[in-house]
Structure formats: structure tokens, C-alpha cells
């Protein structure tokens, strides 16, 4: 609905505050990416440290995203399709990682994997999470799984269960109906969810810092690298990390807006 008595004061004031806010955001991005020179940026990008951070970030985020998908598909399907005892409690529990500061989540993971007998048992089988890249993955997983979960729950809820019913009358088992019908129909939601989870995984700092620590060339993801280099004044390296992070964020935001559609839960 648009409303437009000429020169309405309230219209001018509100649109101006809108522009102001958008301008502030834009300036901030520009500040970061213009704070170094292109040759310096190139040199930094080619450095061993940044190369390591890029590789570690991409890998850990990819793995944590896959884990998020693997658990969210069945979990979101259950909450979208079935009624069961405790469903609304579970829906609320799933939101906790969204509300929890990542730092606290990291402390929780550190305690769980570092001090409990469950954690020690895992460590004996070789699955060491504390101060290792594995810790980065679990931190990303824990903090980001609610995003993937919410997007997929919205996607599945948006698909009429009659599609599955028809597939079943046409000879599919429930699992086949899910694979041959529901999953292809969830393509956009899955894509949007994966991109956003991956992008947020790459940006994850607080939780990963607590579980995996900030060890140069060992648990040094892009945000950790940004943090380490800011701390010791290596500004060019820091800006390189920040620029990559900005590019990844903007591209994933664009993809998400394009495919997120009805699953905008972010």
C-alpha cells in the first residue's frame, strides 16, 4: 500500500532515517576494504598464513555444514510432519543456540569434550576436539545448526503432504516418497540453508576460540587470523582476512535472498 499526500513530513523523516542507517552500513564496509592497497592485499592473500586460514575455514565450514544438513533434514522433517509428545518443548530447545552467546556455547563445548568422561572417552578413540580443527567444526555445527534446522522446517512445512501421499499411492515407500518428491521440492530451501550455514560457519569466532583456541597455523581460521593479526598489528594481513570474509558474506547473502523465499528465518 502506498500513501502519498505530497510532502508528507512523516514520509520524509522516516525515509531519511532509513537512508542514514543504510549509508552507515555501506560506509563501514567501504572503510574496511579500502584500508589497504591492492598490491598489499595481493601480497597478503598469497602469504602462507592467509592461505592456511582460507583452506582451514573453507574445509571446516564445509564439514560443519554437511553435519548440519545431515541432522537437520530428519529433525526438521519430524517437527514439520509429525505430532509427538514434547514437540513444542523440543522446538524451543532448538532455538537455544540462537539465543546463547557463541562464547558461552564454546565454553559449554570445551567443558563437555574437555572435562567429562564422555569427552575423555571420545579423545581415547582419537576424536580430540579441544584445541584442534575438530573443535572448530563442532563449534560451527552447534552455533549454526538452528539456522539450517529452521530453514528446512519452514521448507518442509511449506510442502503439502499430499505430494507424498500421491507418491505413495503411485508405489513409493515413505522413504522413497521423501527422496523422490519432498527432497527435490526442497531444493531452494536446502541451497539457501547450506549457503547461509557455510557462510556463518566461516565467520564463527567466539565459540571456535573457546574450544579450539587461537593457535597460529593450527586452528587459524579467517576470523582467528583476523583476531591474531589485529592483536599484533599486522594490519595488512588482518584486512586481507576481513576482505575475504566480507566477500563471502555478501555473496552468500545474495544467494540466500535469491533462493530463501518463504524460508526467511534468518
Amino acid at each position: 500500500m502506498l500513501k502519498e499526500l505530497k510532502a508528507s513530513k512523516i514520509k520524509i523523516v522516516t525515509i531519511l532515517s532509513c537512508l542514514l542507517l543504510a549509508f552507515f552500513i555501506l560506509v563501514l564496509i567501504i572503510c574496511v576494504v579500502t584500508h589497504t592497497t591492492l598490491p598489499a592485499l595481493m601480497t597478503s592473500l598469497a602469504s602462507k598464513e592467509i592461505q592456511f586460514a582460507i583452506k582451514l575455514s573453507l574445509t571446516t565450514a564445509a564439514i560443519s555444514t554437511i553435519l548440519c544438513i545431515a541432522i537437520s533434514i530428519p529433525a526438521a522433517y519430524a517437527l514439520a510432519r509429525y505430532e509427538f509428545f514434547g514437540k513444542s518443548l523440543i522446538n524451543t530447545l532448538m532455538d537455544i543456540p540462537l539465543a546463547l552467546p557463541p562464547l558461552v556455547a564454546g565454553v559449554g563445548l570445551l567443558i563437555l569434550f574437555g572435562t567429562t568422561s564422555f569427552g575423555k572417552a571420545l579423545a581415547e578413540t582419537g576424536l580430540v576436539f579441544v584445541f584442534t580443527p575438530l573443535g572448530i567444526i563442532i563449534a560451527q555445527f552447534f552455533v549454526n545448526v538452528p539456522f539450517m534446522f529452521r530453514i528446512l522446517r519452514g521448507t518442509f512445512q511449506g510442502i503439502n503432504p499430499r505430494y507424498e501421499h500421491v507418491a505413495e499411492t503411485l508405489g513409493c515407500t515413505e522413504a522413497q516418497a521423501f527422496r523422490r518428491v519432498t527432497l527435490p521440492m526442497s531444493k531452494n530451501g536446502l541451497l539457501a540453508g547450506s549457503v547461509i550455514t557455510w557462510s556463518k560457519g566461516i565467520g564463527e569466532f567466539g565459540a571456535a576460540l573457546m574450544v579450539a583456541g587461537a593457535t597460529r597455523m593450527k586452528t587459524e581460521t579467517l576470523p582467528i587470523s583476523l583476531y591474531l593479526n589485529m592483536s599484533c598489528g599486522e594490519l595488512n594481513l588482518a584486512i586481507a582476512s576481513a576482505t575475504i570474509l566480507i566477500v563471502i558474506s555478501l555473496v552468500s547473502l545474495f544467494v540466500f535472498e535469491r533462493y530463501g523465499g518463504f524460508a526467511r528465518v534468518f
Binding site: 499430499r162 505430494y163 501421499h165 500421491v166 505413495e168 499411492t169 503411485l170 508405489g171 518428491v181 527435490p184
Partner: protein, 357 residues
């Protein structure tokens, strides 16, 4: 043959209560009821999508209550088509055959045949979203009958379509039934649809089956007031258009006699004619007026219904030749109508509502 024995199912808002029903092989069976009567659950329970809380379902005398949908071999068509949006028309129709691990060339042959039958060959490579409602529903029908089910369940299949397409698809449904000898179970809230299509009708309200019978029985002998209120009373006559001059059709009625009606159907078309009992006038002798139709008969029943009197007159041999007329009580008194009196029923060509038979 489908047999439902004391089926109950509670889904909160919608429910079935102790439904017992027998549907014969090769029959066109219509389940008629208002919105929210539980008609869709009933179909979905027959298809195996819901498991009844109590009761049994038998297909050809074998109990399938515990059999999952994929093994029941029942086709299902919904009001909203539910075509798989990421598959082409061709792939949609072939979906069930692929599940059955049938060879590619065999699927292709079968799909082509069905596309020809339903006149949708030209749509073969298009995606559902690009089709009209009527086209989508033809694809949904083709997809359902591709697996050669002995039974086809139709959930308000024509309700989302415009009246012209609805009329055309009614004919297609009849043709599918005749061509393949499929038992059709068709759910609708539309009385005309039920009258035109059904061999038998079951009326369903609030989760219960209240009456089962031929269209004539359902519309002219409702078992109680609720049913009478819901179905309304209608005179239904079957016939064939003899001529159509300037938009007025002369229809030869199966039970004898001719009716004039404003209609676009052509000579040779099989039609059904509906006459609302309020629109028929009775008189003691054949007058001359602009009303094109005058039918002579004898009163065989008189009932008072509120301010009105329901007059049933016998105009010939078969049951379909009975005509129901609603007049005011005062008219009955002033004409002194009695059972056995000979009367003339008069109605205008604009009062006779004609649909494809």
C-alpha cells in the same frame, strides 16, 4: 468391490464415525456432502494414507486395513492436482510406472497412449506450472490411471475449474471409467456434479454416511429433513436434444415427451434437465401462455412443508417421470387439489436448466 466396515477415525477437526459402505466393481460412486463432512479423510483412508482407529477395509474380500498405500494399487486425484512441479508432464505420468521398475521404452509407450487418450500429447514436455487448471487435472488423471488401478479416488477433482472445463472434464471422467472399467469413487459438494455423474450416491455429513442410493432416491426421497435441506429437491430428467433453434433446444425425454429449454447443446447431445419445483405452475386445464412446457399428470402425493405444499405428480410409467412441484398452501386450497386429480404442470423454457448428461 470396496467394503468399508465400521470405519472410525479422529483427526480433530475432521473425523469419520462408524462408516460402513459397499462400492461395487465398475460403479461410478459419488460421495456427496458439505465442506468439512470428512469426505477427504474417507478417501485417504481408502487409499491407505490414514490408518482407521477402528473398523476394516476390504478390497475384493481381502482385508487391506494394514496394507500400505503402495501395495493397494489405488489411484488418487486431488482438487489441487498435486502434480510434481519439478517433473514434466511426461515424467509426472510415468512416475508410478518408474516406481514399479518398468522398462523405459514400455513407460514411454504407456505414457504416449494416455497422453493421446486425454488429448495432452502436445503438453508432454512442459512443466505443470505452465498449464491451465483443466490441463493439470487431465495430467493428474493420466498419472493416476497409468498404474492401471482397478479403483480411482477423486477428491473434488472439478471444484477448482471454471464451469466450461468442468463440463468437459465430467465427460472425460465418464470416458475413463467406460474405457478402463475402473471403479470411480468421486467426492464432491456439488449436487449437479453428483446428479450428472453418479450411478449411486452416498450423502455424508459430520463424518457419517446418512443415505446411499441412486441419484433419484437421494434427491427425491431424502430420508430426513437435514438431507432434504442439504440436497434440495430437484426434478431430474434425462434426454437427448432433438433440435436447437436459435438457442432453444427441443429435448426428447427418456420417459417420453418433449421439453423446450434455453440451452446451447446441439442436436444429438445427451443431456440432463433440472427443474426447480418452485418454478412449476399447476393448473386444472391446459392454458395458452408463453410457458413453452405443459406436462399432464395425476397427483399421487400431497405434503405440507411450512407455508408450502409439496405436490408429487405421476406423468407416465417409470419413476423418473414423477414430477415434484412446490406451491403455496393457499393455492392448493383455492384450486381444491386432491390426490388423484388430473393437473397440468407448466414451466418456461428459461426455467429448465440443462447440463451435459
Amino acid at each position: 468391490m470396496i467394503r468399508l466396515e465400521n470405519i472410525s477415525k479422529d483427526l480433530g477437526e475432521f473425523f469419520l464415525r462408524d462408516v460402513t459402505l459397499e462400492i461395487n466393481e465398475g460403479e461410478y460412486f459419488v460421495i456427496l456432502g458439505p465442506t468439512g463432512a470428512g469426505k477427504t479423510i474417507l478417501l485417504e483412508t481408502i487409499a491407505g494414507i490414514y490408518h482407521p482407529d477402528s473398523g476394516r477395509i476390504l478390497l475384493n474380500d481381502s482385508d487391506v486395513t494394514e496394507v500400505p498405500p503402495r501395495e493397494r494399487n489405488i489411484g488418487m486425484v486431488y482438487q489441487d492436482y498435486i502434480l510434481f512441479p519439478f517433473l514434466t508432464v511426461e515424467e509426472n505420468i510415468g512416475f508410478g510406472l518408474k516406481s514399479r521398475k518398468i522398462g523405459k521404452s514400455e513407460i514411454k509407450r504407456k505414457v504416449d497412449e494416455l497422453e493421446n487418450l486425454l488429448d495432452i500429447s502436445h503438453l508432454s514436455h512442459r512443466y505443470p506450472v505452465t498449464l491451465s487448471g483443466g490441463e493439470q487435472q487431465k495430467v493428474a488423471i493420466a498419472r493416476a490411471i497409468a498404474i492401471e488401478p482397478p479403483i480411482l479416488l477423486l477428491d473434488e477433482p472439478l471444484s477448482a475449474l471454471d464451469s466450461r472445463t468442468r463440463d468437459y472434464l465430467r465427460g472425460e471422467l465418464k470416458r475413463v471409467k467406460d474405457e478402463f472399467g475402473i471403479t470411480m469413487v468421486h467426492v464432491t459438494h456439488d449436487q449437479t456434479e453428483a446428479m450428472v455423474l453418479a450411478d449411486r450416491i452416498a450423502v455424508m455429513m459430520q463424518g457419517r454416511i446418512l443415505q446411499v442410493g441412486t441419484p433419484y432416491e437421494i434427491f427425491n426421497k431424502p430420508l430426513n429433513n437435514d438431507l432434504a435441506d442439504f440436497v434440495g429437491v430437484e426434478n431430474i430428467l434425462s434426454g437427448v436434444v432433438r433440435t436447437n433453434e436459435d438457442g432453444v433446444a427441443e429435448i426428447e425425454v427418456d420417459t417420453g415427451g418433449t421439453i423446450f429449454a434455453v440451452s446451447e447443446y446441439h442436436a444429438g447431445d445427451a443431456v440432463k434437465v433440472f427443474l426447480r419445483p418452485e418454478e412449476i405452475i399447476l393448473s386444472g386445464h391446459e392454458g395458452d401462455s408463453t410457458a413453452r412446457n405443459v406436462v399432464k399428470g395425476r397427483i399421487n402425493e400431497l405434503h405440507d412443508v411450512g407455508p408450502l405444499t409439496r405436490v408429487q405428480m405421476d406423468t407416465g410409467r417409470s419413476e423418473l417421470s414423477e414430477l415434484v412441484v412446490l406451491i403455496t398452501k393457499r393455492s392448493r386450497e383455492s384450486l381444491g387439489l386432491q390426490i388423484g386429480d388430473e393437473v397440468y404442470a407448466t414451466f418456461k423454457a428459461t426455467s429448465a436448466h440443462v447440463v451435459r448428461g
